[in-house]
Amino acid sequence: MRTSSEMSRPIIDVQGIGKRYRIGARRERYLSLRDEIVKGFRRVVGRGGDSATDFWALRDVSFGVEEGDAVGIIGRNGAGKSTLLKILSKITPPTEGTITMRGRVASLLEVGTGFHPELTGRENIYLNGAILGMTRREIVRKFDEIVAFAEVDKFLDTPVKRYSSGMYVRLAFAVAAHLEPEILVVDEVLAVGDAEFQKKCLGKMGEVARGGRTVLFVSHNMSAIQALCKKTLLLHQGRFKSYGLTNDAVHEYLATAAPTSSFERPVQGNGEPTITKGTVSIPKDSGRDELDLAATILSDRSVRLGLDVFLQDANGTPIGLGGIGVRSPETVIDVRPGETTVRWFIDISGLALGSYVMSLLLQHPNVAMVDRVDQCLAFDVNRPPKGVATHVIDQRWGHGSVEFRTGIINVAHSPKADLPAS
């Protein structure tokens, strides 16, 4: 039996959570025992080792989530969203503060965690289910449902290494979607799969949220957040910014986080090439309806990479993707050790009036993401009507953000048409 006082206690109670990382002066991912011994020796001799600097990825964050609520977590890159998710899912412990959870938690920080390519679809359902915290009995009970949702019944006994990437993602999401925890923590897993499948995923998430489960959802997709979440937590540079109704939070996010026409960021320290600088400008000569872009990539080796630009409008709705070298091998960027700066342009003649936000995605074409900088650049489209047009469509009209180029092929008249008798 529940008492009324228990009813009012939040299912997730976060009190002053903070996480400190220690960043060594030298940016090394792994330590080696040999180096450690050398360092220890130096310390004894008195020459001193490396001084480590502290970095708070998250600090003083408090909020409560009521049972059955779907809560969004938003913020720009480096706001601490991922760190918060990792603490909530017990993957890493906090440095300070406490979180009280009153229910079973399942976290979904990635789709298909632990999938093994050599195992069949059937075997991977059991493997992945167990990894996500389902018992064997639960998996057996939901097996048919999972297979039906993933639409892979014909390939159940084929090793997943032979699956298309679409099938792989569908199967992975299907397992995750059939978890039944009291609390579900979800990272941007919806950023995978084709549009139709994404819609299916969003639908399933909405179902989960409406079914009385508590959902925490991190995303850069403001329309998904607005569709799913009643309340939203806004983080900024590891600090609590606001917590309230989703529409207010999204507004505040887009207003305060409005990025500029250029950015600089530190090396990411994972050994991979990093985007360190970027600029965007609209050329002065108004004859061109294009955007000039520049990005600087820091690398310690020679590598050929592609760069995608991902565009969102002022509401966070995805507009489109365009890039160099990703889907066109002849324009691949030749990155050399040191800094490589690439300048390119994109055609924006079809965009409606209003503000846009860009993300840069650096990748090995068709292989893997190397670096991504989310919502790092912004620009406004503000151009006069061209040709015979009297207006340029505006984002705020709510018809979307793309204006199609149209033209008349011909207009035919037939004066003897039978008009309906009135």
């Binding site: 299912i11 990382y21 792994y30 330590l31 080696s32 025992l33 040999r34 450690e36 049972e67 990792k86 603490i87 909530l88 899912s89 017990k90 993957i91 890493t92 412990p93 906090p94 440095t95 300070e96 503060g97 406490t98 979180i99 009280t100 959870m101 009153r102 229910g103 079973r104 976290s107 920080l109 990635e110 965690t113 632990g114 093994h116 050599e118 195992l119 075997e123 059991y126 493997l127 167990a130 990894i131 996500l132 915290g133 389902m134 018992t135 064997r136 009291e182």
Partner: protein, 280 residues
């Protein structure tokens, strides 16, 4: 909502005790991970089983030739040398396989560790089960080998076998847990490990009987106390083959030291595991 699952996440302090209830809740994952490794290994059934047999058999043939025929090392108790050697090799390979796989397990499962929570202990612990399967397959061959050489196993030895296996599992797990934890922190450990394992094999009575060291009591004592797998091999040979009596003193030392190793490894692992996701 169920009250029994209420829990608090807070900064870790002091020595962590094992949460047995949580480990029990994750028993399915433990079995599934062990099953995954076995299933992937033996996916191509014929090749997998052949490979599991190939390693100890070839080693036995070569070692018998070199150490028995050429270097004249004998079992010392009348047991045919190939049988004597094969028992040592089986137990040794169980120990070294568990060690190697456990040490590597946290790295090879790093994707899991960074994305999902579960008691980290499950990952290296599952390797002990996997290695047990790798042990069981060539162990079947031992029966054939004994029949060939007309060696009849003693009942005392067969009765004590579970205790010996428990002892081997504990000391392999203890060392494996320690290596798994240290391997996460220092990535060059994995390069040093094959060499270390090779060296330890020569200070373990695999190819020679421990009785050969009777004139060096200090070294013999060190071997039995510091390297519990030595005792396991010695007792297994003495009780199953040879005289058919259990050397209780040697078994006692091995059990005690295996337990100490297991607890020490577990303690070290538990106290570093909380930061694995940050550094792995």
């Amino acid at each position: 909502m169920p009250r029994d699952v209420e829990y608090v996440i807070s900064p870790p302090k002091g020595v962590l005790s094992l949460d047995w209830r949580e480990l029990w809740r994750y028993r399915d994952l433990f079995l599934v991970l062990a099953w995954r490794d076995i299933s992937v290994r033996y996916k191509q059934t014929v090749l997998g089983v052949v490979w599991a047999l190939f390693q100890p058999v070839i080693t036995m043939v070569i070692f018998t030739f070199i150490f028995n025929r050429v270097a004249k090392i004998e079992s010392g108790d009348g047991t045919p040398y190939p049988v004597f050697l094969y028992v040592g090799l089986l137990l040794w390979q169980y120990f070294s396989n568990t060690l190697t796989h456990a040490a590597d397990s946290m790295i090879s499962n790093s994707a899991l560790i960074q994305k999902v929570y579960f008691p980290r202990l499950i990952v290296p612990a599952a390797t002990a089960i996997t290695a047990l399967v790798d042990f069981a397959i060539p162990a079947v061959l031992l029966a054939g080998l004994m029949a060939w050489y007309h060696v009849v196993p003693h009942v005392a030895g067969l009765a004590i076998l579970p205790v010996l296996l428990l002892c081997a599992v504990m000391c392999a797990m203890g060392a494996g847990l320690f290596l798994a934890a240290i391997n996460v922190k220092y990535r060059d450990v994995r390069y040093a490990l094959p060499f270390m394992i090779q060296v330890v094999m020569y200070v373990t009575p695999v190819i020679y009987p421990v009785a050969m060291l009777d004139r060096h009591p200090v070294i013999k004592g060190l071997m039995l106390w510091c390297n519990p797998i030595s005792g396991v091999i010695t007792v297994a040979r003495g009780s199953v083959l040879g005289a058919g009596t259990v050397q209780w003193d040697v078994l006692g030392i091995s059990l005690l030291m295996s337990f100490v190793m297991f607890v020490a490894g577990l303690y070290y692992f538990r106290n570093t595991e909380r930061y694995f996701a940050d550094i792995v």
